[in-house]
């Protein structure tokens, strides 16, 4: 049975080690607004920020072209950094790039690798904690979205989404709907229905 918990709400009478929880007097309490599942004992954040991890795909905008590096805006508290040496094509301020996370250094800078320039298209942002739901199990939701709208879609773990071509409006509406209804069950079926109706 799933239930919504708020910071400071007890989720278990025993001490369970989990992300986004704290243990006080041998009992476990949530530290976030999330969805707690008793049976699987999982706590999924409903709102939240992106925690950079090695290999995460991100979408960002080039903010500054420095001598040896590019500063990338990742729409998060972390600054993105691209080292020019590893960039094959010429990048300019305002260009949208897709890259993956190489490391997070001590100054809260995310060092990026394997950049790819994304030309054209549109970007918009969603809550980073809803990204896994937009991707779906084994990227199934994303595949469904791109095949039925014929758009190319890239979802960054930092919550920035890039779309180009096809039925962009429908794809965007669907992604925003997934964001809003991420914590409900039977979402995949509803999105499939929405996509088939929209076409």
């Amino acid at each position: 049975m799933q239930r919504i918990v708020i910071p400071g709400e007890k989720i278990s009478d025993t001490s369970v080690r989990m992300h986004n929880t704290l243990i006080h007097n041998g009992k476990t309490y949530s530290t976030i607004v999330g969805l707690y599942n008793d049976e699987k004992s999982t706590l999924i954040p409903l709102e939240g920020l992106w925690n950079p991890a090695y290999g995460d795909t991100v979408v960002g905008v080039i903010e500054e072209d420095r001598l040896n590096t590019y500063n990338v805006n990742l729409n998060s508290p972390y600054k993105g950094l691209l080292i020019s040496k590893f960039v094959q094509e010429q990048l300019n301020k305002g260009d949208v790039v897709e890259a993956s996370v190489k490391e997070l250094d001590k100054t809260q800078t995310v060092v990026l690798m394997r950049p790819r320039k994304l030309s054209g298209g549109k970007i918009f942002s969603i809550t980073p904690s809803k990204v896994p739901r937009v991707l779906g199990k084994g990227n199934n939701m994303l595949k469904e979205l791109s095949t039925s709208t014929k758009s190319s879609i890239i979802v960054g773990h930092n919550g920035v989404v890039w779309i180009k071509g096809g039925n962009m409006q429908l794809a965007m509406d669907a992604i925003l709907r997934i964001q809003e209804e991420a914590h409900t069950s039977g979402l995949t079926d509803r999105i499939k229905e929405m996509l088939s109706k929209g076409n």
Partner: protein, 247 residues
């Protein structure tokens, strides 16, 4: 602002001016997510108080020298709108009073937000009083706590705040503006409901030891009710969407 001249009768036949008993709260209503551009926000109507609280961040701390490489810093701005109150209370611009309340609000949240998760960043809290009627700092903290939870920033608890005071020799809860101005003591307190730790304790006037204890008990009792309303407000946006599909 102080009660100059003759003191009016504030308790008549055991009832206060607005018909409440000594331990009654004013009506409290919290509306979540009212500001689209904020990470989290809440609007609170507490009696005649109308307050908007919004939380932004975490983002890069600017100016740079304010940042802390080991944890996030909290910046708070409490401000009363120029039309929020009678007389000079709600003057625009930062003044002695608003700087003080910004500081105490900031310190409440420094003790509940898990700052060590976001080193080098800042979290902004804005508390805007649209209409003030006594107890705005308590209402502001209560609203900002809801906004903070909705922003997704991990925190150990959702704090609440409420004031107790003394009219004549009677200890009363949740003073409004008139009672505050003519009362003999006013004591706003912010509490972490899980452990009942006190995060803010200020006092104007004087209370005896027994009166202080009585006031604290009233606050902790009323706090259960306030926390329940906060809890419902935080869950409401998600609950509504669930109910749309699951009946």
């Amino acid at each position: 602002m102080s009660g100059g001249g003759e003191k009016p009768e504030l308790i008549i036949n055991g009832k206060r001016l607005d018909g409440r008993g000594a331990t009654d709260l004013r009506s409290l209503k919290i509306e979540p997510n009212v500001i689209k551009n904020a990470a989290g926000s809440a609007y609170v109507e507490w009696g005649n108080n109308k307050i908007i609280a919004a939380v932004h961040g975490p983002k890069e701390a600017l100016p740079k020298h304010t940042s802390d490489p080991e944890k996030a810093v909290i910046k708070c701005r409490y401000m009363m709108a120029p039309f929020s109150s009678l007389e000079g209370h709600g003057r625009t611009g930062p003044n002695r009073r608003s700087i003080e309340i910004s500081k105490v609000t900031k310190e409440v949240f420094e003790n509940v937000v898990m700052l060590e998760l976001f080193p080098g960043t800042e979290i902004d809290i804005y508390v805007e009083v649209l209409q003030g009627d006594g107890g705005t700092r308590a209402a502001g903290i209560t609203a900002a706590a809801v906004a903070m939870a909705l922003s997704g920033i991990p925190m150990t608890d959702v704090p609440y705040a409420v004031s107790a005071g003394k009219i004549g020799e009677t200890v009363v809860l949740d003073l409004n503006m008139i009672e505050d101005n003519y009362s003999d003591a006013d004591m706003p307190v912010a509490v972490k409901p899980l452990t009942n730790e006190v995060l803010l304790l200020q006092m104007d006037g004087s209370l005896t030891k027994e009166q202080f204890k009585e006031g604290m008990e009233m606050i902790l009792e009323a706090g259960k009710k306030i926390h329940e309303i906060q809890d419902a407000a935080i869950k409401r946006p998600y609950q509504e969407i669930i109910e749309r599909y699951e009946r």
